[in-house]
């Protein structure tokens, strides 16, 4: 998967579908990305996570860890696992148009 058209815009993505350039991402693309990994519909709770990730990425330059989302973003680990089952950090980063998370925590 090198290039894909999302919300009418062509974006570059890696082999697993993560965005190569997070700046390509627009909010309108999120529902389609979520559907690709089996999350439908995207609720306000999901959006809270996505927005925090986007904002934190802008400041820190890396995808926030689950611990950071809990302590800085006020998103409980339980909620995170319920919202994005089977791999919350990766799934949320996928929908938020960020690269694949590299941390171990």
């Amino acid at each position: 998967m090198a290039e894909a058209t999302l919300a009418g815009v062509t974006v570059e993505r890696d082999d697993e579908g993560f965005f190569k350039n997070p700046d390509d991402w627009k909010e309108e693309m999120a529902p389609e990305l979520a559907k690709e990994i089996g999350i439908d519909p995207l609720t306000e709770e999901h959006w809270k996570v996505i927005r925090f990730m986007r904002e934190d990425y802008k400041v820190k330059g890396q995808v926030p860890s689950i611990r950071r989302m809990k302590n800085e973003g006020g998103i409980s680990t339980k909620d995170l696992y319920n919202l994005f089952p089977k791999g919350p950090a990766k799934k949320a980063a996928y929908i938020a148009g960020l690269g694949k998370p590299h941390g171990c925590i």
Partner: protein
């Protein structure tokens, strides 16, 4: 995702030093992040990781650990273990690795099961009240094997 991926792991934590406990916790948390089912089983000195009064007081072993690269006699000086522990905790915090109590809570909240070994609990005369609230149950080794059915077992 291929069907031959790991679906479930049971991780045994048997040591009570800081470096004995963290690898198992990191592996457990990392497995949940990948959508793998996890059971954590604490046995022998590994139980300290879920004992309320001890969990945040684990220390790095500075004696009998050649990989510390300090002479054994120096490692045995008063305060060495505390200093090494402090330094390691500081480095871990930079990587967003939480203190044990916070980590245990996080792992519990991911949906992993946390269990204490009955034989050790009896041997050390411990009670359910000695354990943190996130420890699910005290179980026998037989229960552990039953629970681990269909998954991999990792001993640390």
């Amino acid at each position: 995702m291929s069907s031959d991926r790991i679906e479930k792991v049971s991780i045994v934590i048997s040591k009570g030093s800081l470096e004995g406990v963290y690898p198992g916790l990191i592996m457990a948390n990392g497995a949940r992040m990948e959508g793998i089912d996890v059971n954590l089983f604490f046995t022998f000195f590994g139980l300290d990781a879920v004992i309320t009064k001890r969990m945040d007081k684990l220390k790095v072993a500075t004696v009998g650990n050649p990989a510390m690269h300090i002479p054994t006699m120096v490692g045995g000086l008063p305060g060495m273990s505390a200093m090494a522990t402090k330094m390691m905790m500081k480095e871990m915090d930079k990587l967003d690795i939480p203190p044990v109590s916070e980590f245990i809570e996080m792992i519990h909240d991911t949906g992993a099961g946390l269990y204490a070994c009955k034989a050790t609990v009896d041997m050390f005369h411990l009670k359910k009240e000695d354990f943190c609230e996130h420890m699910d149950d005290i179980i026998t080794v037989g229960d552990f094997y039953e629970m681990s059915h269909g998954g991999q077992i990792i001993f640390t």
